[in-house]
Symmetry: C2
Subunit: 178 residues, 2 copies
Amino acid sequence: MNQELNVWLERLTSLYKSQMRQAASSAGLQMVHLEVMQYLSVCNGYSNTAQALSEYLGQTKGSISQTLKVMEQLGLVTKSNCTRDKRIVRLALTKLARAQLTAVAEQLVVVDHNHEQLTAGIRNLLKGWQQHHEQPGFGLCQSCRYHQPMDEKQFLCQLTKETLSTTGQLQLCREHEF
Amino acid sequence: MNQELNVWLERLTSLYKSQMRQAASSAGLQMVHLEVMQYLSVCNGYSNTAQALSEYLGQTKGSISQTLKVMEQLGLVTKSNCTRDKRIVRLALTKLARAQLTAVAEQLVVVDHNHEQLTAGIRNLLKGWQQHHEQPGFGLCQSCRYHQPMDEKQFLCQLTKETLSTTGQLQLCREHEF
DNA sequence: GCATAAAGTTTAGAAACTATACTAATATTT
DNA sequence: AAATATTAGTATAGTTTCTAAACTTTATGC
C-alpha cells in the first residue's frame, strides 16, 4: 500500500476511535455499544443479526452475543424471532438508542468541503480492499451485482428474488457483492 | 457530516480494525501492541513517549503504561531515560518489532489506483477534524505552522528552535499544528 | 521558594474478548 | 427419507485490557 496513505488511514482510524470512545463515555456507554448501534442504524432487513454484526465488527459470535445481552438490559436493543427462519434473531434499536446515537453524531461533526470526491475515493478503496481479502459484503444496493432496477420506487434483488423499495438503498447489506 | 461519508468512514474503520485484529492474532500479538508499534514506527523524536501514545490512541496513561510494560517483556520495545528532561521515557522499537510490523503490513495490501487524490482527501478531512475538535497535533512537518524551510536537506522547527533533517518530515509529530 | 503542572507507575475493579463446547434449526448429500 | 454438514445463537471460564484514583518524580511559573 502507498505508505503515506497508510499513515493517514492509521491516523484516521485512531482519531475516529478516540472520538467514539469519548462520545461513548460521555453518554455513559461502552465503545462496542456505539459501534453496534451505528451498524444497526444503517443496515438493511437482511443484515440486522448477531452473525452479521460479528462479521462486520470482526469479533467472535460469543462476544457479540454477550454485548447484545447487556444492550438489551440497558434498553438499547430489542430482539425478535424471525418467523421464516427460526434460528435467526432480528435486532432493532429502541427509541432511546436512536436518541443517543443522534446526540453522539452531533459531536462528530466534520467540516469538509469536498465530500463527494472523498466519499467516492473511500468507496473505491473499500471495494478494492474487500475484493482483495474476499471479505463479505456490507455495501449499498446501488453498487451490488444483484441489484436490478425496475422503476423509480422499486428494484429487484436477484439474490433473494424480492422486490424492494428504493428507500432501502442507502442501507448496508450483508449480502452485498460488487 | 455528510451522511454517506459517515457510513463509509464507519465501515472503513471497522474493516481496518478487523484486519488489524486478524493480523495481530496471526502474529500472536494483541491489537494494542500493533497499534503502538505502528505509531512508534511513524512518529518523530519529539513524539515517542507514553504520553503521546495516550493522546494518539485516546487511552489513559495508566493503560498505555501497562501495555508498554508487557511489550518490553515481549522484547518489542525498549525504554531509555531522556537526559534533558528526566521525567520523560523515550520509546524505541526493537528489530523484532519492526520485522513483525512489516510482516503485518504485507497482509494489509490494498489495490487502489487513485492514491493521491484519496490521500489528499483524507489529509484534508483530518485537518478539518482536528481543528474543529482542537485535537492535538499528529501531522507531518510539511504542513505544520512551525515548519520553516532552510535548504533541501534541512529545515527549522520554530517551536523547538531546532534544525531538523528533511528525512524526518515523513514522521508524525505530536506538536503538529496546521 | 512554593505551588502547580506534566510524565509515568501502580493498584483494584469493571468490562470486553477469545476459545470452547453446546443447542437448535435449516441445507445438503447420499 | 435419513444422515451429515452448515448456520445462528447461547453459555462459561479464563485472559487481557481499560479506567479511575492515588502516588512519585521532575520541571515550570509566579
